[in-house]
C-alpha cells in the first residue's frame, strides 16, 4: 500500500442509444468527481461499440451506463460482452435508469455488477465502486 501507486479511480459515464434523459448521468458525473474520482462523460447517443472504445482508450476502471428509455436489456449486456471481447472484463460495469425490478437479476447475470435506480444516493454508488473496482497492481 504505497501512496504513489494509488491513482484516482477513473470512470466513464455513458448514455447508450437515443435516450435523451441525461440528468442522472450528469448528476453522477459531478457527484463522483466530488468524491475524488476522475470522470469522463460521453454525452448522448453512444453505441455500445463507441462506449467500449472510449473505455479502453481512456483506460477506465468503471463504466456507468444510464438508460431511461427501456432499451437497457439490449445495451447493458452488449457493453459487458464487448468489454470481454477486448479482454477488459476487469472493468466494473454498473447501470442505472428506469429499470424494472424484474430486469435487475437478468442484467446482473449478464455481468452488470449493480443497478442503481431512482432514489439512489451518489454516495452509495461511490461506495459500491470503491469496494468493487479492480485493485491497482
Amino acid at each position: 500500500m504505497v501512496m504513489e501507486n494509488e491513482r484516482k479511480i477513473k470512470v466513464l459515464i455513458a448514455k447508450p442509444g437515443l435516450d435523451g434523459h441525461d440528468r442522472g448521468a450528469k448528476v453522477l458525473a459531478f457527484g463522483l468527481r466530488d468524491q475524488g474520482m476522475e470522470v469522463i462523460y460521453t454525452g448522448r447517443r453512444q453505441s455500445a461499440v463507441q462506449i467500449v472504445k472510449a473505455a479502453i482508450q481512456e483506460d477506465v476502471d468503471v463504466v456507468g451506463l444510464s438508460c431511461l428509455s427501456g432499451a437497457h436489456l439490449t445495451f447493458f449486456p452488449k457493453v459487458v460482452e464487448l468489454l470481454k471481447e477486448q479482454k477488459a472484463d476487469d472493468v466494473l460495469v454498473v447501470g442505472g435508469g428506469i429499470i424494472p425490478e424484474e430486469h435487475i437479476p437478468i442484467l446482473k447475470e449478464k455481468g452488470v455488477a449493480e443497478i442503481f435506480v431512482s432514489g439512489a444516493m451518489v454516495k452509495d454508488i461511490g461506495d459500491f465502486i470503491r469496494k468493487n473496482v479492480r485493485k491497482a497492481d
Binding site: 435516450d19 434523459h21 440528468r23 462523460y41 454525452g43 447517443r45 428509455s69 439490449t74 431512482s118
Partner: protein, 578 residues
Amino acid sequence: MHHDKDKLEEIKKKRKEWEEKVLKPAAKRFRMEKPTEFHTPLEIEGFDFLRDVGFPGQYPFTTAAFPVNLVPALRKGAKPGGLKRASQYSGYGTPEDTRDYYKAQAALGWSGGPNFALDLPTQCGYDSDNPTVEGEVGKVGVAIDTLRDFEVIFEAFTGDQDLDKIATNMTMNAAANILIAMYIALAEKRGIPMAKLKGTPQNDILKEHVSRGTYIFPPRPSMRMFRDSVVFFTKHLPGINITSIGGYHIREGGATREQEMAFSLAIGIAYLQEGVNAGVDIDDFAPKFTFNGSGGSLEIYKEVAFHRAYRRMWAKIVKERFGAKKEESMRIRVPMFAHIGCSSTTKQRVLNNLSRTMIGGIAGLLSGGPPAVFPPYDEPLGLGWSLEARQLADDGARILMYETGMCDVLDPFAGSYFMESLTNEIEKAGWEGLQKIEDMGGAVTAIETGYMQREIARSAAERQAKIERGEMLLVGVNCFTEEYELDVTVNRLVEHPYSEKKRYDAEEKQKANLAEVKRTRNNREVKRLLLELEKAAKKEDENLMPLFIQLAREYASLQEQCDVLRGVFGEWQQDTFI
C-alpha cells in the same frame, strides 16, 4: 388594498412590536431556527390591482388565461372525465399496433384525435431499418417512417372522426415539418384540404437542445426549420398550432424554477423573433403558439406564483417587446398549470406519490387551471402507467372537482399580500435570468455555447447534493426510512392495453413494412425530389414545406429527408456540456 402612507407606517410599527414581543419569544420557546412567515401590506407597497393582476382572461393574465376555469365540473353536459379522448399521450410498436390500440379505445367510447408518442428513432430522424437504432424501434412510441405509416394509424380515424373533425398532436420536434407534411399528404388522399386540418406538433426544438435531447440539427438551422413552420402554417394551416413550448422538460432536466422561467421565455422570444424576421405579423402567428406545460414541484405556493408571474411576463413580452395588439397573441394556452412534476415522485413507497399528486392537483386549481393530479402514482416504476394508477389519478382530479368546491373560484390568492409579493419576486428573478441570456445574444447562442445545458446540470447536481446532505427531505427516500416504517407495495393486476410482445416484435415487422414501401414506390421520383430538397436546403430563404409535402406523397422516408438535411445543415453532437 391601497393603504395610505400613515396606515403603512402604523403597520410597520405594529409589525416591529409584534416581532419583538410576540414572535421572537415564541420562536425561542419552540426552538425554531426560522419562524413561520407572516405577510402584510408592507410587502406589496404600490400594488395596483388593474396593472398587476387584472381580470381573468384579460391582460396581463396574471389570474388566469381564460375568464373561467374550463374544468368539466362546471360545464353543462361536459363529460365528467370518464371517457378520455384518445388524445392521451399514446402509441407504441408498429403503426398497426397503434391503430389497433386506438380502435380498441374507440370501442370503449373514447373520441377525439390521437396524441401520439413516437419512438426515439422517429424523433431523432432515423428509419426503422437503420442498424444503429436496433432495439429502439417501437419502444417508447410508435415507429413512423413514411406516409404509409400515417395511412395505417389513421385507419382508426374515419367518418365522424375524420381528419377534418379531429385534432392530432404529435410529440415531434426536430423534423416536425416532415411529419406535418405526411399528415397533409394523408389528408389529400382523403380529399380533405390542408386548411381544414387541426392539431399541434410539439415543434419546440430549442428545448430539445437544452434538455430533452431529440435534436438532429444544430440550433441555427433548426431555427430555419422553425421559421418555415411559422410562415407556412400561418398561411396554409390555420388550424395547426405552430409550436407547443415546454418549460417542463427543462425543469425535469434539472433546472430550478427561475432557470426554467428564464430559459423557456428566452426560447419563446427566439421563436417569436424568427417569425417577425420572416415578415409575418406578430398577431397573425403568436396566437398559434401553445404551451405544453411548465415544470412543477411540491412547493405549491411558489408554483402558483410561478404561473401567475409566467402568464404576466409572456403577455408583457408579446405586447411590449413585439408590439402585438390582439389579446389572444398574449395569452398562454396550456393544458396543465401548477403540478408537482414527474421528478417529484419517488420509487420508494410508491403510493406516496398519490398523496403528492393530490397536492399538485390542488396547486393546479389554485393557479387557474384544471386539477392536475399528475403523474399517475406509478410513474417512477417505469413500465408505463398502469390502468389502476390512471384510474386513481382521474379520481383524484374528480374528487377535487366534484367534492371540494375549489373550482368555483379563480385565483383565490389574488390580492394576498403573500402571493402577490411572491409573484413579484419570482417575476423579478425571471427577468434577471432572461436578461443574462439576452446579454449573451439570446437563446440560440446560450445553447450553442452550452450555457443553458451547464446551468441545468449544475442545478441538478446541487439538488442531489442537498438530498444527500439531508437539507432537502424526501419521505421514504432520505428520511423516515427506519426499520419500523412499512414498505408499502402495490399490485397492478389489470392488463395494460399495450402488448409487451407486440412492442418487442415491432422492429422486425416495421423493417418489413418499410422494405415493402421502398420496393413499391417510384424510387426515381423520390431520388429526384431528394436532390431538389438538397438544392432548396442550401438556399437559406427557401421554405422547405412544399417539398416535404411532395416527398411525403412519394413515400420518401423520414430518414432519407433528414439525411439530406444533415448533409446541408450538419448534425448537433455537442451535448457533453458539464
